[in-house]
């Protein structure tokens, strides 16, 4: 509810806010450097992620009319005639984003739903091919999250092993991390039961425990913090902080602006696939809250 009103005010305040900011940014084309860090393009800060005029175009299938779908003869004629599917749509999710992230940065990404935050993360992780432009990275950035690899019908035990392998661990690493994951998630004897029997909080805790078991050079976190009860939230925030210290660079997407303000030293505001503002968390978040 609070989020909704916040977004409503954002829609209203959109137009007047932009020209003022435009003038300010035009004068200083570079984003404001985080406090305590050298300004950009000074060789002392090592860039870890360079995003160069990135465009991402999604292909979306669906919204098919009932008459179109499922008729194999239609499908055959369409393939033979080499026609595109009428219901295929292209969504231009990220439209020309450029920035440089440095070693030790924790960058929060804010923006309304559908502004391209998650898409941008996936592109940095090298999971979505760019339509134009490029992402350059040092090492392999990883997205925090193995949800897609887990299977609800399987026991927590099997899912832990599966999730660890999906993240690229070796059998030795899996054996080493297994107990740690069970302990951290706090699901105890439920680990023997299928995940479909878990409460939503338990499932979320186990997923977070699995995904955060691996250390990464460049870590991308997409709304992982808002899970579980208060106690687990504290635990996971602490874990994130620890991961941040081990990782070179962290990107964080969250709707909870408080979390971003606490953990990030730089915030990028995405709006309709473009960077609207990039700089110090306080300034950007203040502008974002104002709309």
């Amino acid at each position: 509810m609070a989020e909704l009103t916040e977004e409503l005010s954002l829609v209203k305040g959109e137009q007047p806010a932009v020209p003022g900011k435009d003038g300010k940014d035009g004068a200083h084309p570079q984003p404001v450097a985080p406090a305590g860090k050298p300004p950009f393009d000074v060789p002392t800060g090592t860039p870890t992620v360079v995003v160069d005029d990135l465009h991402i175009v999604y292909r979306v299938y669906g919204a098919a009319s009932d008459a179109e779908k499922g008729n194999a003869v239609n499908a055959l004629t369409r393939i033979l005639r080499r026609q595109g599917r009428p219901q295929m749509k292209e969504v231009h999710a990220v439209r020309g984003v450029s920035f440089v992230a440095y070693h030790g940065d924790a960058i929060g990404i804010v923006g309304r739903n559908g502004s391209g935050k998650s898409t941008l993360l996936r592109a940095i992780a090298g999971l979505l091919p760019p339509h134009a432009g490029a992402v350059y990275t040092d090492g392999q950035p990883s997205l925090l999250g193995v949800n897609a690899a887990l299977m609800r019908e399987l026991t927590g035990e099997r899912n832990i092993v599966l999730g660890c392998y999906a993240m690229g661990m070796t059998p030795a690493e899996v054996r080493e991390k297994y107990q740690e994951i069970v302990d951290f998630s706090g699901i105890d004897e439920f680990v023997q039961l299928p995940m479909s029997t878990y409460s939503s909080g338990m499932g979320a805790r186990l997923r977070f425990a699995i995904s955060s078991a691996k250390t990464h050079d460049v870590l991308l976190i997409d709304e992982a913090l808002a899970t579980g009860d208060r106690e687990f939230r504290k635990k996971s925030e602490q874990r994130i902080r620890q991961i941040r210290e081990e990782a070179g660079t962290v990107f964080l997407v969250a709707h909870d602006l408080r979390v971003i303000e606490e953990t990030c030293n730089r915030v990028i505001w995405l709006h309709k696939g473009k960077i609207k503002m990039d700089g110090d968390p306080k300034e950007v978040l203040a502008a974002y809250n104002k709309g």
């Binding site: 435009d22 084309p29 299938y61 499922g70 990275t137």
Partner: protein, 306 residues
């Protein structure tokens, strides 16, 4: 409407490129493109490093597949058996497809089980990329892991079916010979072919969504062309009075028919396969595996796009 925003973006991009193009900056610090297709040998090595994931994923899918049914894993045996029973009634008894075939139940069962393995792998392969987009968009791994895991999943099922098959074949009165030791070899060759075919189908299925609607037709035509419940030799040369080379081509050019014939040759003592069927078996295995990997790898970086 978004004029002011694009002005901001342009100002930022322009302002920076005035100093140093970002691509150059990235090159100066040795940063690499986030999405780049590794060279082919490196790709195969990465795939080998992911063998535990591939195996676990295949097993997990098998376990979860039947977890909601009361009979559970028993269906892995029941499904091919029920299929074979239907085909036996349809083609063996009603349509009289058995002709002069010796030991028709074994003939039919071997054809069914061997063909089903290839058919299921091809069908699963076509969905392996398009049905796992969320996984591909979330985690990093060589994408060939998915079609490979699907093939291994089918192989695990086949292993059970083959056990049932052997029991039935012995029950029909076939003598156990040393030739039976060659069974794993045929399965290995067929698996090589299936992996290749699954990889090709995975890439096709990732871009051609309509393939899934079309596939049932293709596989059914393939089933009828593979001599699963009739003898190609008998129908083509005996009934249709066509020259012998037509029948030979149907055996050699169709990998499924080749593997079925090879397996029948091993298990049924009275069965007479076309002479050099093993050559086409080896050829299809090597060709499909090599081409499949190469063809799939060529589009590696594009699979996330959908």
């Amino acid at each position: 409407m978004s004029q002011p925003e694009s002005a901001v973006a342009d100002a930022q991009a322009g302002g920076r490129s005035g100093q140093e193009p970002l691509a150059k900056l990235a090159a100066r610090y040795g940063l690499r493109r986030a999405i780049a297709r590794p060279r082919f040998p490196a790709y195969v090595r990465q795939l080998w490093e992911r063998r535990h994931f591939i195996l676990t994923y295949a097993t997990s899918r098998n376990v979860s597949k039947y977890s909601n049914s009361a009979l559970g894993q028993l269906w892995q045996v029941l499904t091919p058996l029920l299929n074979a029973a239907i085909y036996y009634v349809m083609f063996g008894l009603i349509l009289g497809g058995r002709g002069n075939i010796d030991n028709y139940p074994a003939f039919l069962l071997i054809g069914m089980f061997v063909f089903t393995y290839t058919q299921r792998t091809v069908t699963a392969g076509a969905k392996s990329i398009s049905g796992n987009l969320s996984l591909i968009r979330a985690l990093h791994f060589p994408r060939a892991s998915l079609p490979l895991a699907y093939t291994i999943q089918e192989l695990q099922q086949l292993a059970i079916s083959m056990g049932v098959l052997l029991v039935i074949v012995i029950f029909t009165g076939e003598p156990i010979t040393l030739f039976w030791l060659m069974m794993p070899l045929v399965l290995l060759l067929q698996t090589m072919f299936n992996i290749g075919a699954g990889l090709v189908m995975a890439r096709l299925g990732s871009s051609m969504r309509d393939l899934n609607q079309l596939l049932p037709f293709i596989t059914r035509t393939w089933l009828y062309a593979s001599g699963v419940f009739f003898s190609i030799q008998e129908k083509v040369v005996g009934t249709a009075k066509l020259p012998q080379w037509v029948a030979d081509t149907m055996y050699y050019a169709n990998p499924a028919a080749s593997y079925i014939e090879f397996m029948r040759d091993i298990l049924i003592s009275a069965h007479n396969p076309p002479g050099s069927v093993w050559i086409s078996c080896v050829f299809w295995a090597v060709f499909a595996l090599g081409f499949g990997f190469w063809y799939f790898w060529r589009a590696e970086e594009r699979y996330g796009r959908g």
